[in-house]
Symmetry: C2
Subunit: 158 residues, 2 copies
């Protein structure tokens, strides 16, 4: 009984327990989700070191609705699928996966970062996390500028 109470207390984000944010789940099945838009970031861009390459954005059903309504419900998940940009013979083709970025909406769990949990899974790994506890500084610091669009930079390309 006492053990259950302790676990419950630790799992809450209360002022008494300034807990680390809950881990963002790996977005299983995201390759079947709707494709939002794509972009390539080349050398010379300020974000090249972090986001250089071809990225595709995918949205689950709830996030797809969010792009339409401008407000993302809890359970919305957006994936930022970053691949190497292979330049050859006047083409740019998709290479290896560099990182799989994830934004996962849960107003309660991630209330300190706009209701969004942020994570980056390295390469094709489902467990090797690039962000972890650093979401506030590594991700939200930029995304907070997009407060008027629920902290999302992208729009759905028609």
């Amino acid at each position: 009984m006492r053990k259950m109470f302790v676990l419950a207390a630790l799992s809450m984000t209360s002022p008494l327990f300034a807990a680390d944010p809950a881990p963002v789940p790996y977005p299983e099945g995201y390759r079947q989700w709707v494709h939002v838009k794509s972009m390539t970031i080349n050398q010379g861009h300020a974000l090249y070191d972090t986001f250089g390459g071809i990225h595709h954005l995918y949205a689950n059903k709830k996030a797809e609705q969010g792009y339409k309504s401008g407000k993302f419900a809890d359970g919305s998940v957006i994936v930022f699928d970053l691949l190497e940009a292979k330049v050859a013979d006047n083409t740019v083709q998709e290479g290896s996966r560099k990182v799989l970025g994830v934004m996962h909406k849960d107003s309660r769990k991630y209330k300190d970062t706009g209701g969004w949990g942020f994570e980056g899974f390295k390469g094709d790994s489902k467990t090797d996390r690039a962000v972890g506890k650093t979401a506030a500084s590594a991700c939200f610091q930029c995304h907070t500028a997009q407060k008027n669009s629920d902290h999302i930079f992208s729009t759905f390309r028609r």
Copy 2:
């Protein structure tokens, strides 16, 4: 009665009536389909005049199965969504739609072109057709080289 017979005869692709291929339907709802892969074709490439820009491939459910099994069932539809590549500030971003290419599997209707109907809808139009009766020379002439993969060039990026 006689009129019905004439219409039926004209709609058949028989040796007696070398009919034009049936029009390929516009792929309604394709933006909700699964994203197969993407590529950018730049100036200097042999296919630049026709396919220059960013293209995304989308597959309906049957075509998605086809990518897995290597054989595309009738009803499979693959979309080649070609957008202008806007280059600015060390990024390449999606611009206006240039053409929406479609491959539509129907072994009977399109038996002369590997069972695939080919069409290109210009820009955002659902009616302005770029290919029409020229599919054999404009499309199949290249796609026939891919006979071993059911005339498909692309593979599903994981």
